[in-house]
Structure formats: structure tokens, C-alpha cells
């Protein structure tokens, strides 16, 4: 056993707990190998004090021969040399021998242990069969020796004596005894550890508690605690060992912090000594004995202590397989040391710390590289990169300090500094002398010459950058790149610098960091100036001139740079082209007129608002906007677009970027959604096929979402290649001065040709410099349209009433046509729509903006066929308006005018009346055909008139007398006066229509009806068919009588003659004066034939009476719809009526009144009964069509077969009977109603008094 202090390096890993051996040395030697092998084979659980978690521990031991010097003296705190267990070996089996020598020796051993207070001992008795056999006779049983030893030494501690049987034999018994021995040894060792370490820790704690006492020394304490760490390390409890160092670290840090807070400890003075050595960390040795010695002798500097502490921690961490913690701790340590030296105000030579940090970084990295393979290193570069970057940083500042960065090289002063720094490094450590790449050699070399420095610096920088990139720390990589760029700039290599700067700038721009952007950009400007890259430099200058992060002086400087360049005469064919967005921003664009749509040739102004970003006013020679021209297609399409454009009042706002030059791209709001309405109209009739909404700028929106950068914003990294496209047309303004801020510039836009003009680019020329806005977005366009003349006719007031003079407004949009003097509109006259000549017809001419230009009288000449309206001369794109009075003739009835041809050869469209769904009035469409001077085609225009009246007629009878009633209903909203009401019958001269109307003028209010009545008188015979014409004059109530207009209504009445009269009488029951409710009464119905059968009638009734008289079958029916009467017996029946005047038929029916009071008679219906063979008598409807009339006449003469066919064809029209009768109409007899005038009912609406039932005194009262 050697003392570790004698060795230069303590390899604690190779240390083992010391176990002393006494007694039979040869015996021990023979067993040593197997003992040393087997002891660590199985782990033991080590239970710890102070609640520390138990640990499994493999025990090893260093067996040394027992010497008394080994036993620790009082006060010796060394733990590494502490013997933890003492063993006495003996194989004595002879009582004599034991008694004579062994016991004595053992006693001596035991005593010396006891005097040193060591209780950790064991006696091992080895017995073998050989020895037993040899001395068979005179030996005692083996147990007796053991017993003796036990009784002699192991005072109640029987476990302190162990028997090992046949240790060298391979038997189960031997194995068993080995195992129990090993177990015993391990247990005892652990007991010893627990006890001794516990005691040590207690002492250590006591020492620590004394730290506030004046004499306390940190270094002393350090040594004590480190001893503990050594033991833990020896026991391979690295975690515990590390804890000891960490505690020391923390304790020291706390003292330094306290020092900073003013609480100074005396012992700290030694650490405040000026730093003389900055040789960096040394991690290649497990224990740096030099430093340890200096700590022990309280001569260590702060850096020494920190270095030693870290080297120990590093060693343990690497044992613990935690190399990445080393790097992390290293970085912390280095930062911390720099801070601590500052805090303790330790004087350090300039650059010394940089050297120390640089060397330390590289040393740590080397150490880590030494214990990890390449793959591991690459995977964990995130842990090492910090050190790389730190080393790079330090080397750079060293280079700057020693004048290695400047273009000229180091001065003599710089060289002196270098020499001082190198002196502080001392000699290279022996471990690295042979290594070519040692940190020491690197630093020395780097500081030796400018070239070497550059090489090393670049190497380190690139390594750091690559690592940053590899782990995705792009920003950090860029920052390293930036400092590399600064290096290149100082070395006068702007080309290399620019690449790095541009890359960094890109990153700052994309993330919107304005201050770094400005700073980097300024550096780039410097580069570009040096590189003489004019356009790039100008572009960057423009950006900087508009950068609000810079001071006005700086901005003015950059602006002046541009102006200086612009002022120099250069190559006239090539001007420097720059992006305009950095120079000035287009903020607003306004059209005058606001609709941005003018007819060709009209004046259109475009007002631009440019926000100039320059700090000073800039004179611009020319500002031009190029225009893209598109021929417009589709007039209707263009019109809808125009209508839409009007809504934005011609102002277009451009929201690109912000005035802040550094506003981030990602923060700038994306382009707003531009939606357009799209209507797809059918080309033929302009009806809407589909409509929808389209996003016009999807490409921009989608692009915006994909990447964060906006296209062509002011934040462009490098000036985009902007080119001015030569458009065919340009808006130009010469000599403008743009002041900082908003400037308004007005252009006059070309509007010669019809189409769409899109503003594409904007270009400002300042001397040799052009600022180009490569495209204007959102797109701005204006439209120049060419319009065909358009003539419209609309009613002045809705609705147009037929029959009255109505004002109609003619509107002529001249479009591109100039109305010349002598131009006239030719209206083809229509009979149904005469144009009323008027004296004062004025035409108004107004401009497109609805301002009245002039008024003039129109001359209207009417010939028979044509009305010609001479138009006043009107300029193009003006509106000409005039009014004409027209009358629509009310069609009087079913007259069908022959097809007429208009003067222009067109077929006249018969005005057709129809009922309009929106109004109760009947509508008539009137078409006008107008020949216009600008077109060879006639313009057809339609006007809708409404008939204000609805007329109905009815035939009333009183016995044989006939009356005609006409009802005129005013369905319009106007009140009328009706005069000269007249009814005439055309065909029958003998007929006299006597008016029963008293007033000549009648008021007919809106929605009211007027009834007129005439009695029909005739001389010979009442014609069965009458064609009547009702005529009246009407005028609106407000107007005078001269304005009366005729109104006609034609109608036809047929089967007017009364054929039968029906008379009913109710007779009270016999003996009663009055009818009583509930009593049967008699109802007598008397049907009388009033006229001779007419010819048609005979033909109809084919049945002949046996008497030769023509008879007809009638059916009567008594029905009481109000349930006043109960009909008893048959309510209906058939009557055979002779067709003779005054032929009478009486029917008696029993009826019973159900209520008392004046009851109306029950209704009696008389119907014509048609046997199945009879042809149907057709009752022509007065309103039905003529066609039906003629058909029915034909039918009468047809034979049976033909008849049935016709019946079938008209079955649905004439059937009165029930549905099933009608279904099989061919064979079935049928009933047919008479025309209203043919049956006269005498007792219609007659009433009879019915008394209540006699004894009925009960009155029912229903109260609800």
C-alpha cells in the first residue's frame, strides 16, 4: 500500500478500501486470489444514514499486510488510507500450538487494534481435511479451537470469528463455507463504511458549521470534503462524489456573492489576487495535483479553484456518462468565472480572460470529443455549439485586441500585448505536448500572425455556424455570420461580407425586426458602395433614406447619395432603375369623374396620391404611368361593371406596407379579398343564366398564406429587377416636386378609343434614376365606352289607361351618334294607338351628368300613315327627352280586325287584351314602330295600357217582359264621369230598347259599379238572339266635358223568350187559416207554357204525343236549401208538357214548414229532360265563342251517330246532371237547365206566414 500523495496522480478508480491481514501470511497468500476475485462478485445492499436511499454496491478490497503504522492516529482525517477492516488469518488446529504461539500473536494484534479504537476486525480460521488427517491423534475437534478463539476474543460477538473449510477444494462444503465467509466480510465492510464515513461526515459538518468563525479556511474544509468525495469515488458512488463537489461549488459561489453584497470573508483574500496564469482548464487528468496542492496550501487563485473543481466534476460526470452536462456546466462556469472576477474586482490583464475562456472552451470540447464518437457528437451539437460560439467570440475579441483584424496588421503596442498574453499561458502541459491540435497550440498560433488568426477564426466561425444550422438555430447561425461579415469588412473584403449580411437581412426582414434590418442594411450599403455596385447601392440607399429608424441626418445623407448619382450625366440609354415602393408609395388613386367610366372622347382625370418617403423634397423630371388597353367586348357586360364601379366613388386606396420602413412583412395585413360579381347573361335575350361571386386576387391571397413574405413590398431584400414596360399609352406629368409626405398628382387620361384602360406601372424619373412601381395593385382601370343610340318610351305615369289621352315619355340616349339638324323619328301610325297632335311639345337635352343643356320645341308632322318628329341637334352622349300624348283605343268586343300592314311593311300586331296578374284591369300591349335616323332597322317599342272598366250584362225577365241590365265597373284608380249611356240593337229594327236610366251624367268612382237598365219592347216577336252594343262616354272626373271619350261594349243575348212560367202556391191544411209549423201544407206548382214552340225547339224535342201534339218532358224539383221546409213524398218529378200556348201542368206536393214565421217558398227548379235519343239542345253561352255557335247549329242536323259524337265532345260543358250521368253520357237521358230568361218564376222570393204549432207554448230559447 502506497500513500497516494506520493504519486503525482491519484487514480481513485484504482483505489480500493484497505483491509489489513494479520496472522498466517502464507495462508492468506494462498487464498488471496480467490478472495480478491470472489469478494466483488455479488452486490450488497448498503443502507445509509440520514435517509439516503440504499444502494447496491460491489465491494472490492485492497488487502495489505497489517502494520501498526497503518492504523490512523488521532486527528488524521485521511479516509483513503483508512483501513476499514482487519483480518487475522490462522489455520491452527492444534490446541497446543494455539495456546503456545497463535493466541499470543492474536492477542497482540487485538490489543493494538483496541488501542486505536478500531472495532472492525474478524478472525478467520481455515481448516482443511489434510491437516486434520495428518494430526489425527492429537488434535482436538476443530470446534474446540474455534470455540477457544471465540471465548478468548469474541466477547459476545461470535460473528467475529469465521471458519473457512477446505478453501482449496472444489466441494460443495468448501463453496458453502466460502460463501458464508464472503457474506460475512461484505457485511462487516459495509458496517465499517457506515460507521466510519458517518463519523467522518459528522466531523465535516461540524467543521462546516464553524465557517463563520474568523480562523476558518475554505481550502481546509475543501480538502476534508474532497476526502469524502474520494471515498465515494473509490466505492464507485460517483453520484455521491459529485454531490460533494457541487456542495463545495455552491458554498464557494455563495461566498463570492456575499462578497459582492459586502460580506467579506478573510480567506477569500487569497482568491482576489491578480490573475497571473490563464492557461485554461485541464481536463485530461482525473486529478490535477498541482492545483490541488495549491488549494491545499491556500495559494490558489480563483481561476485555479474553479478549474480544479470543474475538472473534478467533469471527471465524475464522464464516469456517470453525462458528457452533455459537462458542456452545459462548462459554459455556465466560464460565464460565471468572468462575472466572479468582475465581482471580486480581481485585476486581470486585458485579454487574459479571453485567453482563458478560449482555451477552456476548446479543452472541454476536446475532452468531450475524447469520450464520444462522431455520431454522438453530431447528434448532440446543440450542447456543444454554445462553447464553439463562445470560443469564436473570444478569439475574435482577442484578434481585435491584438490588432490581428485590421487591414494593416498589428502595431508594436499590439505585439507587446500579445507577448504579455502568451506569457500568461505558461508552458504547454505535458499531456498535450505531443498533440498537434491542442488548444494551447491553437491559441499560440492564432495570436502569432494575421494569417493564422484568420485561418483559425474562420475555421471556428464556420464550425459554429454549421453546427447552429445543423440543429436548426438559424438565427444564431446568422448572427455568427454577421460578426463574420464584420470581420470581412475590417479585412477589406466586402464581397464576402455581403453574402452573410444579405442572408441575415433576409431573416430579419422575414420576421420583421426593424432595428436589426436597418443596422444590417446600413452595413450592406457600405459593402455595396465599396463594391461599386451602383444600382444595388442606390436601392439600399433609397431604403435607408426612407427608414424611420435612422436619424434625419443619416436619411438625408442616403437621399443625397441618390440625388448625387441622379445628377451625374451617365449613359442616357440606360438609367438606373429602382423600385418605387421605397421611394414613394402610391396611397390613393382617384378618378374624376368618380365612376371611372366615360364615353369616348370625354375628359377623365386621374389623381394619384404619392407618399414620398424621402426626408427632403425631390424634384422629379417626369412621372409616367403606363396603361394597358383592352378593347371592351360585350356592351351589357361593360354596363354592369360600370354600375358596380360607381359604388366606390372612384377612390382606390392602396394599403401596401406602412410608413414605418421596418414594418414586418408578416405583420402587414395581407391583400384584402377582392370580390367581383359575375353575371352570365344569355347573348340572345339578355336573360340571366347564372350569377356568382369571384375572388379576383386568389393568386395573391394563396401566395400570402404559403409564405410569410409578401411579393414586392418595400421590404425587398435585394432590389427586385424592375423594368419599365413601354406601354403604348402613358399618362405623363413633367416636373413635379415631391415633398416628404403626401403629394397629389393629377393626370389627364386618354379616352380616345372605347375599351378598358388598366394602369400597370408607375415610373418616376429623377435624372439618371428611375423609380418604377412594377405593378399597381389592386388593379386600377377605367373604362371608355362607346354607346349605341338608345330610344326608350315609358309612360309618364303608371298605369297607362286605355281610351284616354296619356302622356308618354320618349328618352333618347344619343350614345356616339350626333343628332343633326333635320334628323327625325318616323312613327308608324297605328289605328289603335293614335298620336294626338300637340302644340307645345318641348324637348329637353341634358348632359350625361343630368345637367340641362337646352330646351327646344319639337315639330311634329303627321301624315296618314306616319308621324314624323324632327329632333333638335343633340351632341353625342346626351339625353334627349320629350313627351307625346297618345290614346289607346279600347277594343270594343269580339271584333277581329283584318290583318293590316303597317306603312313600313310590318305585320301589325293585334293588340291583345289579357288580364294582368297585378291589377284587376285588363291590359293591352301596344307596339310602336319607330324608324330612327341612325339605324336602318325600325325600333319596336311596347307600351302596356289598361282598360279602366269591366262590363257585365244580364237579362232580366218579368213574365214575358224583358229587361237588359248592364253593369259597368270602374276597376281603375281614377274617378270618371259617365255620360250618354246607350244601348242599341243592330239587327232587329222592330226592337225597341227603352232606357230606364234617368241621369245623363253619372259619377263612377274608383272601384265602384254603375248599373244601367233597358226594357226590351218588340212588336211581332221577340228575336231569340240579340246583338247589343252598349256605348257610353267617359272622362276623368276632373276634366271638362270636351274630353269625353267613347266606350263600347258589345254583347249578344240568345234565347230571350220566356217559355214557361212557374207559379207556386202554398195552401194551409184544411180548416186552418194559416199554415202552422209541423203541419202538412199543400204546395201547388203550376207550370204554364207561354209561347208557341219555336222552330229550333221542335227540332230538339223529337218525342211526339200520341195525340199528335208535340210534347216536351220537363222535370221539376222542389228543394229547400234553408231547411225551412220538409218535403213529404216526392220532391221531384217528370212532367209531360204539350208544346202549346197556355198548356198548364199542375203538381201537388205535400210540404211541412219546420219553423214559424214568414218563410220563403221552397225553390222550384224546372229543367228540361232530354231522353237519351234526343240530341242535346245546346244552350249557347252569350259569351262563348263564335266557333261553338256554328258547331251547335251543325249538330242539330246531324244523324244520331254524329250526334252522339258531338255530345261526347261537349259532355263536360253542358252536363247539369250528376257526375255518373255524365260519365256514360251517350246512352243516358239527361237534364238541361233553361237559359235565365226562358223560365219565369212567379213565386220567386214569395213568402208565406207560418204560425207556430197550436199547443206549443214552449219556447225554445237558445242563448249562446
Amino acid at each position: 500500500m502506497e500513500c497516494q500523495e506520493e504519486r503525482p496522480i491519484i487514480y481513485t478508480m484504482e483505489n480500493k478500501p484497505i483491509v489489513t491481514c494479520a496472522g498466517d501470511h502464507n495462508l492468506f497468500t494462498s487464498l488471496y486470489t480467490s478472495l480478491a476475485q470472489q469478494l466483488p462478485r455479488e452486490p450488497m445492499e448498503w443502507r445509509r444514514t440520514y435517509g439516503r436511499a440504499p444502494k447496491m454496491i460491489h465491494l472490492e478490497a485492497n488487502f495489505v499486510q497489517f502494520k501498526e503504522e497503518l492504523l490512523p492516529k488521532d486527528g488524521n482525517k485521511a479516509l483513503l488510507t483508512f483501513p476499514f477492516l482487519h483480518i487475522y488469518w490462522t489455520d491452527c488446529c492444534d490446541t497446543e500450538a494455539y495456546k503456545s504461539s497463535v493466541k499470543e500473536d492474536m492477542l497482540r494484534w487485538h490489543n493494538s487494534l483496541r488501542t486505536h479504537g478500531s472495532a472492525d476486525w474478524v478472525i478467520i480460521v481455515v481448516e482443511s481435511n489434510d491437516t486434520k488427517k495428518k494430526n489425527k491423534t492429537n488434535i482436538l475437534p476443530r470446534s474446540s479451537i474455534v470455540d477457544k478463539i471465540r471465548s478468548d476474543f469474541c466477547n459476545k460477538q461470535n460473528d467475529r470469528c469465521v471458519v473457512l473449510s477446505d478453501p482449496l477444494k472444489d466441494s460443495s462444503r468448501s463453496q458453502e463455507s466460502w460463501n458464508s465467509l464472503l457474506l460475512k466480510l461484505r457485511t462487516l465492510l459495509l458496517m465499517s463504511f457506515t460507521k466510519n464515513l458517518g463519523r467522518f461526515e459528522d466531523d465535516m459538518r461540524t467543521l462546516r458549521e464553524k465557517r463563520t468563525q474568523p480562523g476558518w479556511s475554505f481550502c481546509e474544509y475543501f480538502m476534508v470534503q474532497e476526502e469524502l468525495a474520494f471515498v465515494f469515488e473509490m466505492l464507485q458512488q460517483f453520484e455521491d462524489a459529485l454531490v460533494q463537489y457541487d456542495e463545495l461549488d455552491a458554498l464557494f459561489t455563495q461566498y463570492v456573492l456575499n462578497f459582492g453584497a459586502g460580506d467579506t470573508a478573510n480567506w477569500l483574500g487569497s482568491f482576489c489576487a491578480p490573475v497571473r496564469n490563464w492557461s485554461g482548464l485541464l481536463l485530461r487528468r482525473p486529478i490535477d495535483m498541482e492545483k490541488r496542492d495549491s488549494i491545499q496550501h491556500e495559494e490558489a487563485s480563483l481561476l485555479d479553484l474553479r478549474s480544479y473543481l470543474f475538472s473534478r466534476q467533469c471527471t465524475l460526470l464522464i464516469f456517470l456518462q453525462r458528457p452533455w452536462e459537462v458542456t452545459q456546466r462548462a459554459l455556465e462556469l466560464l460565464h460565471n468565472c468572468v462575472q466572479e472576477l468582475r465581482l471580486l474586482e480581481v485585476s486581470v490583464v486585458d485579454g487574459a480572460l479571453d485567453c482563458w475562456v478560449f482555451l477552456s472552451c476548446l479543452e472541454v470540447l476536446h475532452r468531450i470529443e475524447g469520450c464520444c464518437d462522431q455520431a454522438q457528437l453530431a447528434a448532440n451539437s446543440s450542447h456543444t455549439v454554445g462553447l464553439w460560439a463562445y470560443a469564436t467570440d473570444k478569439l475574435k475579441s482577442l484578434g481585435e485586441l491584438c490588432g490581428l483584424v485590421s487591414e494593416k496588421g498589428p502595431t508594436s503596442e499590439d505585439l507587446n500585448k500579445t507577448v504579455d498574453l502568451l506569457a500568461g499561458l505558461g508552458d504547454e502541459r505535458p499531456e498535450t505536448v505531443n498533440s498537434l491540435q491542442s488548444p494551447y497550440k491553437k491559441l499560440k498560433e492564432a495570436l502569432s500572425s494575421v494569417e493564422a488568426f484568420e485561418r483559425h477564426y474562420l475555421e471556428l466561425s464556420h464550425a459554429a455556424m454549421e453546427m447552429y444550422r445543423a440543429i436548426g438555430r438559424v438565427r444564431s447561425a446568422r448572427l455568427v455570420g454577421k460578426s463574420l461579415a464584420e470581420f470581412h469588412m475590417r479585412k477589406g473584403d466586402p464581397k464576402k461580407a455581403e453574402t452573410f449580411l444579405q442572408e441575415a437581412l433576409k431573416s430579419y426582414l422575414s420576421e420583421g425586426w426593424s432595428l436589426p434590418v436597418t443596422h444590417t442594411r446600413r452595413q450592406i450599403a457600405e459593402c455595396q458602395k465599396l463594391l461599386d455596385r451602383k444600382e444595388d447601392y442606390l436601392q439600399t440607399s433609397a431604403l435607408l433614406a426612407g427608414d424611420s429608424n435612422l436619424s434625419t441626418e443619416e436619411r438625408t445623407h442616403f437621399c443625397q447619395e441618390i440625388l448625387n448619382f441622379a445628377g451625374k450625366p451617365g449613359n442616357p440609354s440606360h438609367k438606373a432603375t429602382l423600385s418605387m415602393s421605397v421611394f414613394a408609395q402610391l396611397t390613393q388613386l382617384q378618378f374624376h369623374p368618380a365612376c371611372a367610366s366615360v364615353h369616348s372622347g370625354a375628359a377623365l382625370k386621374v389623381e394619384l396620391t404619392l407618399r414620398c418617403m424621402m426626408p427632403i423634397s425631390v424634384h422629379i423630371q417626369q412621372l409616367a404611368a403606363s396603361i394597358h388597353f383592352d378593347v371592351d367586348h360585350g356592351g351589357t357586360h361593360g354596363r354592369t361593371k360600370r354600375a358596380q364601379r360607381r359604388t366606390n366613388l372612384g377612390v382606390i386606396e392602396f394599403k401596401m406596407g406602412d410608413s414605418l420602413a421596418g414594418l414586418p412583412c408578416s405583420a402587414a395585413p395581407g391583400p384584402s379579398l377582392e370580390l367581383d360579381e359575375v353575371q352570365d347573361r344569355s347573348p340572345s335575350d339578355n336573360s340571366l343564366n347564372s350569377t356568382g361571386v369571384v375572388c379576383k386576387n386568389t393568386h395573391l391571397l394563396l401566395h400570402h398564406h404559403e409564405g410569410t413574405s409578401l411579393p414586392d413590398t418595400l421590404n425587398c431584400v435585394s432590389p427586385p429587377t424592375v423594368t419599365m414596360k413601354e406601354g403604348a399609352q402613358m399618362l405623363k406629368v413633367q416636373d413635379v416636386t415631391l415633398a416628404p409626405g403626401n403629394n397629389s398628382i393629377v393626370f389627364t387620361a386618354p379616352s380616345g378609343q372605347a375599351g378598358t384602360y388598366t394602369l400597370r406601372q408607375l415610373c418616376a424619373t429623377v435624372g439618371e434614376v428611375q423609380f418604377v412601381l412594377s405593378h399597381i395593385y389592386p388593379s386600377v382601370r377605367y373604362e371608355v365606352y362607346s354607346q349605341e343610340p338608345q330610344l326608350t318610351v315609358e309612360p309618364l305615369s303608371e298605369p297607362l289607361l286605355a281610351g284616354l289621352p296619356q302622356m308618354v315619355k320618349f328618352t333618347l340616349l344619343t350614345g356616339h351618334y350626333t343628332v343633326k339638324k333635320g334628323d327625325a323619328l318616323q312613327l308608324s301610325n297605328a289605328e289603335t294607338l293614335p298620336i294626338l297632335p300637340s302644340t307645345s311639345c318641348t324637348a329637353r337635352i341634358s348632359s350625361p351628368t343630368a345637367e340641362l343643356v337646352s330646351e327646344s320645341t319639337l315639330s311634329i308632322q303627321s301624315s296618314e300613315k306616319v308621324t314624323s318628329i324632327s329632333l333638335p341637334p343633340t351632341p353625342p352622349y346626351h339625353v334627349l327627352e320629350f313627351q307625346l300624348e297618345v290614346v289607346c283605343v279600347i277594343p270594343s268586343g269580339s271584333e277581329r280586325p283584318a290583318n293590316e300592314r303597317l306603312t313600313n311593311g310590318e305585320v301589325r300586331h293585334r293588340p291583345r287584351s289579357y288580364s294582368h296578374p297585378d291589377t284587376p284591369m285588363t291590359a293591352i300591349d301596344q307596339r310602336m314602330s319607330i324608324d330612327c335616323p341612325w339605324s336602318i332597322y325600325s325600333t319596336l317599342l311596347a307600351l302596356t295600357f289598361y282598360i279602366p272598366f269591366k262590363t257585365k250584362h244580364s237579362l232580366l225577365s218579368a213574365g214575358n217582359r224583358k229587361y237588359i241590365q248592364v253593369c259597368v265597373q270602374n276597376v281603375s284608380d281614377v274617378n270618371f264621369t259617365l255620360a250618354e249611356v246607350k244601348l242599341t240593337e243592330k239587327q232587329h229594327a222592330s226592337l225597341e230598347l227603352q232606357s230606364l236610366n234617368t241621369k245623363t251624367h253619372q259619377l263612377l268612382c274608383s272601384k265602384h259599379s254603375l248599373f244601367c237598365l233597358w226594357e226590351v219592347r218588340w212588336k211581332d216577336e221577340l228575336p231569340s238572339c240579340m246583338k247589343c252594343v252598349f256605348s257610353a262616354s267617359f272622362s276623368p272626373l276632373s276634366q271638362d266635358t270636351s274630353a269625353f271619350k267613347p266606350f263600347h261594349y258589345q254583347f249578344q243575348l240568345e234565347r230571350v223568350t220566356t217559355l214557361y212560367s212557374v207559379k207556386a202556391e202554398i195552401s194551409p191544411p184544411a180548416g186552418e187559416q194559416h199554415c202552422r209549423s209541423g203541419l202538412l201544407c199543400g204546395l201547388e206548382v203550376c207550370i204554364t207554357r207561354l209561347t208557341e214552340p219555336a222552330e229550333g225547339e221542335i227540332a230538339e224535342e223529337s218525342k211526339t204525343d200520341p195525340d199528335g201534339l208535340k210534347v216536351t218532358k220537363l222535370m221539376y224539383e222542389v228543394a229547400d236549401s234553408n231547411s225551412n221546409w220538409a218535403v213529404c213524398g216526392k220532391s221531384s218529378g217528370m212532367v209531360l208538357m204539350p208544346m202549346k200556348v197556355n198548356a198548364t201542368h199542375k203538381v201537388h206536393i205535400e210540404v211541412m214548414p219546420l219553423f214559424a214565421g214568414h218563410l220563403p217558398f221552397p225553390k222550384i227548379k224546372v229543367l228540361r229532360y232530354l231522353p237519351h235519343t234526343a240530341a242535346l239542345a245546346i244552350q249557347p253561352d252569350p259569351d262563348s265563342c263564335v266557333e261553338n255557335d256554328s258547331l251547335s247549329l251543325l249538330d242539330k242536323t246531324l244523324d244520331d251517330q254524329g250526334d252522339t259524337a258531338s255530345i261526347r265532345s261537349r259532355g263536360s260543358v253542358h252536363s247539369v246532371g250528376s257526375g255518373d250521368q255524365q260519365q256514360r253520357g251517350v246512352a243516358m237521358p239527361r237534364l238541361e237547365a233553361f237559359s235565365p230568361g226562358q223560365v219565369f218564376n212567379h213565386s220567386h222570393t214569395q213568402q208565406v206566414l207560418v204560425l207556430p204549432a197550436t199547443d206549443d207554448h214552449i219556447m225554445e230559447v237558445n242563448a249562446t
Binding site: E332, R342, G472, R475
Partner: protein, 139 residues
């Protein structure tokens, strides 16, 4: 206390950045910007490990010789960065945490302002006051 406080939007542009010494402003901008590397690294590693229930405080992002940079990220991925002078040793982790919490509360107030447009630079006086308070208490 703090020498620089920054609020950085989800898209990594600064919403608010203020530092004590104006002449060093640029340096702090660079420092904060570079710290985003580590913030992103931490977010992605934490996000993988803990899912939704993640700690907002990211701890020390990276130390430099002169400064310590601490990070914090809200659930809406807005980052707070506080730069502290390295010599200021009195600041413990807990104090940094509470600073971040205060900052977060104030930021929440800013966001609650209906007139504040999320994504715009923060110009709130109240927020500025809170930040000033953190920077003034020099340790």
C-alpha cells in the same frame, strides 16, 4: 431588474421591445431575436413531451457572459423574453417566473382591449408601465 423585455408575436416579429440603455438597443434586439432559436427548440421539445398541459415558463434560454435570457410562451404562442444582467445574482428563478406572470397578465389586459388589434405593436400605457416597473427595480 430586467434590462430588456420583449413580446414577440406568434410569427416571430416583435410586438413590443424595450431595453434600458438606448445605446445598446440594437444589441438587445439581436439578442432577443437570436433567443427565438432556443424558444422554438424548447417549445417543440416540450410540446412533444407534455402535449397540451405544458409549462409556459421556458426557463433560462441561454446565458451569455453579460446577460441571462429567459423565455416564456403563452398558449397562443406569443413569446415573452426577459433579459437580465448576469451580474444581477439576486434574481432567482421564482422571481423571473413572477415577472413573466405579471407580464402575461398585463399582456392579457392589452389583448382584452377591444380597440387593440391583435398583431399590432403594443402601445398600451398600462403595459408600458408594468414593463417599466420591472426594469426600474434594479437589483
Amino acid at each position: 431588474m430586467a434590462v430588456c423585455i420583449a413580446v414577440i408575436a406568434k410569427e416571430n416579429y416583435p410586438l413590443y421591445i424595450r431595453s434600458v440603455a438606448t445605446q445598446n438597443e440594437l444589441k438587445f434586439h439581436y439578442t432577443v431575436h437570436t433567443s427565438l432559436d432556443v424558444v422554438e427548440e424548447k417549445i417543440s421539445s416540450v410540446g412533444k413531451a407534455l402535449g397540451d398541459q405544458r409549462e409556459l415558463y421556458l426557463g433560462l434560454l441561454y446565458p451569455t457572459e453579460d446577460y441571462k435570457v429567459y423565455g416564456y410562451v403563452t398558449n397562443s404562442k406569443v413569446k415573452f423574453v426577459i433579459v437580465v444582467d448576469s451580474s444581477n445574482t439576486s434574481l432567482r428563478d421564482n422571481e423571473i417566473r413572477s415577472m413573466f406572470r405579471k407580464l402575461h397578465n398585463s399582456f392579457t389586459d392589452v389583448m382584452c382591449n377591444p380597440f387593440y388589434n391583435p398583431g399590432d405593436p403594443i402601445q398600451s400605457k398600462a403595459f408600458n408601465g408594468v414593463v417599466s416597473g420591472m426594469m426600474v427595480q434594479t437589483g
